[in-house]
Symmetry: C2
Subunit: 399 residues, 2 copies
């Protein structure tokens, strides 16, 4: 007998993820595709001790079912951490999620019906497109750097606007203060929820951090935050991804809806992992290791930029990012199809991510994303040499 059909969205997944996964098995390959941290930044001894004491000092919180919203002490710690003189956050503004990805899934669950409209900064994070694909949403693409970008027009009629203002994945672009203010104002006037996805907010290598849109939208409010920004944070980039700890900061009515969705998604996030996160904040561990992370990644950003300048300037254009994990480079020659470049790159022993997977409509084949956090400088340079050869080979095929 034939089995029942799978849901329709499963037919729409692209094969690029499969290509990455099989590429990951090859030890000779230089992987510049993912957004992976260097394991050297993890404070293994401290985390091992935290894990042990979390269980022995707090067995009920670590081993039992916890509240759907997360451990009260961790929610309080995050409320305190993100509050500013202009922004009053309480526990009611905080939901703990199972990694940053779950936040995107829950937002889809509470705001999307089939065909709902999302206004998305484009190119857009692949994981967000993955999370929302089952709802078959419509996308209005937003190019924030376009001088004609008008947030209120872009937001109108959308269930939410989706942005990564700090070092966007994939472009590494920093959204400026004026654009942030304009989007907050547009969210206020249109009523649209404004999702501020901020996994890279701590990874500023040059200059002082810009204020969060969450903070900007709190200005002038009194009492517990009730504004339109839905802020997403994660422990993955500042400490380690393996704990799968993220958080959502939003108006209490949004937190209540997301909590109902989380109840049916995974009931609660691991109490052990939450307790370790709490210890990492309270002990100052996350703040203490950040300078070393920034120093390491800044030097790699510089190494990759130098290698690109030496080998790729003839074929690609890019801007050096001031933070985050990625360069975004665009082909000078429109004939350079970056989906085809990926296949050539794999033959040459290097893996990058083509722009098609970051386009909600799957059409952009002009750019690539290159990660600089995982590999040491000499390996980054070798990867770029291989990539230059792959570009030549792709163009030769095209001619």
């Amino acid at each position: 007998m034939q089995r029942p059909a799978f849901a329709r969205w499963l037919a729409q997944t692209n094969d690029v993820t499969q290509i990455f996964l099989s590429a990951g098995q090859r030890p000779d390959l230089i992987n510049m595709a993912g957004g992976l941290p260097d394991p050297a930044v993890w404070p293994v001894a401290e985390l091992s001790a935290f894990a042990a004491s979390a269980v022995s000092d707090h067995p009920t919180e670590t081993l039992g079912y916890g509240p759907i919203e997360g451990l009260p002490a961790l929610r309080d710690a995050l409320a305190a951490r993100f509050s500013t003189p202009e922004l009053t956050l309480t526990r009611a503004n905080i939901l703990i999620t199972t990694g940053g990805m779950q936040a995107l899934d829950l937002i889809g669950k509470v705001l999307l019906e089939e065909g709902s409209l999302i206004a998305a900064q484009t190119p857009a994070y692949l994981g967000a497109l993955d999370a929302w694909r089952p709802h078959a949403p419509r996308y209005r693409t937003m190019r924030l750097e376009d001088p004609d970008f008008a947030p209120a027009t872009a937001f109108a009629g959308a269930q939410f606007a989706y942005t990564v203002p700090n070092f966007s994945n994939p472009t590494g672009r920093l959204v400026g203060l004026d654009s942030r203010r304009a989007m907050v104002a547009a969210a206020e006037t249109t009523g649209t929820w404004l999702v501020e996805d901020d996994p890279y907010g701590a990874l500023y290598y040059d200059g002082a951090p810009l204020p969060r849109m969450l903070t900007l939208s709190g200005v002038g409010q009194t009492g517990t935050y009730a504004g339109p920004v839905v802020y997403l944070g994660t422990l993955s980039k500042e400490l380690a991804p393996g704990f799968r700890i993220g958080w959502i900061i939003a108006a209490p009515e949004m937190i209540a809806a997301l909590t109902a969705a989380k109840q049916g998604a995974d009931m609660c996030t691991s109490g052990l992992c939450q307790q370790i996160a709490l210890k990492a904040f309270e002990s100052g561990l996350t703040d203490r290791i950040l300078p070393d992370i920034l120093s390491l990644y800044r030097s790699r950003r510089d190494a990759l930029g130098d290698a690109m300048a030496s080998h790729l300037a003839a074929h690609l254009d890019w801007q050096v990012p001031v933070g985050g994990m990625f360069f975004w480079a665009t082909a000078k020659d429109p004939a350079l199809d970056t989906d085809r470049l990926l296949r050539q790159a794999l033959k040459h022993g290097v893996c990058i991510t083509p722009s098609s997977v970051f386009d909600p409509h799957g059409e952009d084949r002009r750019s690539i994303r290159i990660n600089f956090t995982l590999n040491a400088p000499e390996r980054l340079a070798e990867g770029i040499r291989r990539l230059a050869n792959a570009i030549e080979a792709t163009l030769a095929q095209t001619d």
Copy 2:
């Protein structure tokens, strides 16, 4: 400005969960509503040591991103644990989930469109109804104990059949061998997926365990399992819920679809928690602590049964369960509305779960679920005395 509307399913959540949550804050209340383990069964010292060595011995697996499907070693261990002479399982049959609840969410994602049909053993697990509510499925209710129950008729046209054969939540009922065989045969002839949700499979207090439907459906197959059963397991009842570790065992095509759904749900399950689960299996810890868990819960099952016989026999009918965590008791008098009983019970300082939340159509107000694993015998007895008074008060109001 008005905010965009939340998704429609959010209007359909019942308020019973909220009632439980606020009841949980009251220290004087005897909570017999939840399905919680007694913290006394947790091997805290061993788990603290496992947590420490998981991080220090396997930093990459515990602290980094892992494969979406789960750690290969844990998938292999589960394949070995559930293989039998009749059933060949490999890594390709296993997906690690973030607790048992995520398995239900992922099944909904890959098999349900709006209005899809589910054939559900009824009364049904509340968490499954929660997980699938966003898809607005239709339900065909199945009463497996009904002598006229015809599985092939019940399964026809359904995307999947949902069952909890070992000590069903909420009824505590054990589905017999003949019914298991009949459902497996019906799944084969109709093609329908057969979800076997088995969180309580280890908690047999009397008699030998019956074979899983997964095992029954493997008989006569050669090579890697490719049958219709989608088996759900969890570490929550046998070790501790706080790790949020569950697993799905199914045909490779189903595992592949579920993996695509998990990618957009939370990317991967905590590597730390997976590594601890692996150690718990490999060291024999789960097998070693099981006899003490069974002994403790058996004595509480007996204590609750004795108290019920002393105080509730005039008003309720029930069968003593041979495993699991719950008694299910049904009012002799149809005028005893158990939603109203819940409110009276809370006034009397005891919490139970009314049948309405386990009915896909929300109509059954004739029964209650009573948990016996969390409280010591004397507290169980006091809870039942309070419940008897609450029943009298509810009936007095009704008259």
